[in-house]
């Protein structure tokens, strides 16, 4: 199939074939990182700007490295040091950036839908690096890629996404991608974080982790976003860990071949025990490695849709 999109804004809008094309292309990019020259010339002459309105060292670094491995030039645009602080609108900022001859805008923003607004106002490729509570499509893709690589398939797998689903763009992107490829998704967390209404999105909703933990092929633990949460979503971190943390004790009741995932950064001892994060069933560092190949694939496919010039 031919990749039709100039932008990657959500996984919700992609077909299963399109998701599989990204995953297959990522597999071809994986070996670039293991060679003596860790570069291919595919994006030579292209310019990528990281437009980050929220702090994120690891996602920005991953996008930067992915672009550099495709031989693109990369510019970092930090919102705090920009004219946005002088009152310039997002639309004007984007148009000014575009006027400098940029090809790809990688944007992270605290507002859901900010990337859609940017995409409407530019001819550049726009890649969503996380927008508010909406989506984080490349994280979803790298999670799905990691699962496919470890399990050999997605279809029919039982996947748990545990924690603050309500605030999580990672959970939404995972859900859309996994459902399209045939997995069964269960959201697990307290009612304050996983309202029952989330069942309408196509996932099962469970509030008692212990009653279902033995079912899953994959357990993806979300980070407790201390900075986003109010004080009233759960009584204490200790209670959260007791009920929903992936402790050593709880892992004994999980399947022997369960895959443990986390988008990072981990609050060790809160959503996951340190031993579990470092244990044999954890693929957390593989997720980081695979993120590079997936982001290379996304940038390559989207810029190919730009065509010549």
């Amino acid at each position: 199939m031919v990749w039709p999109h100039r932008n990657l804004l959500t996984l919700e809008e992609l077909t299963s074939d399109e998701i599989n094309l990204i995953l297959d292309t990522a597999a071809a990019f994986e070996d670039v990182s293991t060679r003596s020259v860790k570069k291919v010339p595919a994006l030579r002459g292209r310019v990528v700007v990281n437009l980050f309105f929220e702090d994120s060292t690891r996602t920005r670094t991953s996008f930067t490295l992915a672009a550099q491995r495709l031989s693109a030039d990369v510019i970092d645009f930090t919102a705090k040091a920009s004219s946005l602080s002088k009152g310039e609108s997002l639309r004007d900022t984007v148009r000014n950036i575009e006027a400098m001859g940029i090809d790809v805008i990688v944007c992270r923003h605290s507002s859901s839908g900010a990337n859609h607004l940017i995409a409407k106002n530019t001819k550049c490729c726009v890649i969503n690096a996380g927008d508010g509570r909406h989506e984080h499509p490349t994280q979803g893709l790298l999670d799905i890629y990691t699962i496919r690589k470890a399990k050999g398939r997605i279809d029919g797998l039982k996947v748990a996404i545990v924690g603050d689903v309500g605030n999580s763009r990672v959970a939404r992107s995972n859900l859309h991608g996994l459902l399209k490829l045939g997995a069964e998704v269960t959201f697990v967390g307290p009612t304050t974080m996983v309202p029952g209404a989330f069942a309408k999105m196509g996932a099962r909703v469970v509030h008692d982790f212990d009653s279902v933990i033995g079912e899953f092929d994959v357990i993806n633990m979300l980070r407790i976003q201390m900075e986003r949460l109010g004080s009233n979503v759960f009584p204490s971190l200790g209670e959260y860990t007791r009920l929903f943390g992936l402790t050593n004790e709880r892992m004994k009741r999980a399947r022997q071949d369960v895959l443990v995932m986390h988008p990072g950064p981990i609050n060790r001892g809160v959503e996951m025990a340190g031993d579990v994060a470092d244990g044999g069933r954890s693929v957390i560092l593989e997720q980081v490695t695979n993120g590079l190949a997936v982001r290379m694939a996304v940038m390559f496919l989207c810029t190919q849709a730009l065509g010549a010039g």
């Binding site: 071809a28 570069k39 010339p41």
Partner: protein
């Protein structure tokens, strides 16, 4: 459409190429055959079997995808399909036989040489092709050739049984 090579013609061409390669390999060389996707890799695998019959064994095998190195990548647009490169050995110091089905402009081979260069520094690279169409746009020439076309710019199609068809090389007109 005319048939440039039939099944026997392809077999004979590969046999002759294998003979020429085996005669040219330096005595101390560590040999690897790398086929350019797609079809070059199929021919490379066949060539390795024939090299063994000529007493050249312990030959490494790799496949190379050159999509990311093409100089017309921007023009191909979304139709570009990236496949995996599988070279499970160190190319440094190797005597490499690069294999493709057809050579025309020479740009695919230029891309392949760039791709190999990024993997390491081989001792030497030799080029084997089943069909030489002529029409070169770059100063690149094959060392081993199965058959040459009349050089009048007619398109050539290589069909191979491994792709579910028959062994045949067809030429337009």
């Amino acid at each position: 459409m005319s048939v440039l090579l039939d099944e026997n013609g392809i077999a004979a061409a590969l046999e002759r190429i294998a003979g020429e390669i085996s005669a040219s390999i330096p005595a101390t060389a560590s040999v690897a055959v790398i086929g350019i996707r797609s079809r070059g890799d199929t021919l490379a695998a066949r060539l390795i079997e024939r090299l063994a019959a000529h007493g050249v064994s312990q030959v490494e095998f790799g496949t190379l995808d050159i999509t990311l190195y093409r100089d017309d990548l921007a023009e191909i647009g979304p139709a570009a399909v990236v496949r995996t490169t599988e070279i499970p050995f160190d190319v440094a110091g190797k005597y490499l036989i690069l294999v493709d089905d057809v050579i025309y402009s020479g740009r695919s081979i230029r891309a392949a040489l760039d791709a190999i260069k990024d993997l390491g520094r081989p001792r030497a690279i030799r080029l084997a092709v089943l069909v030489d169409r002529g029409g070169r746009e770059l100063p690149i020439q094959p060392d081993f050739v199965g058959v040459k076309t009349p050089g009048d710019d007619r398109h050539v199609t290589v069909l191979l049984r491994e792709s579910g068809g028959v062994d045949r090389v067809e030429m337009d007109g």
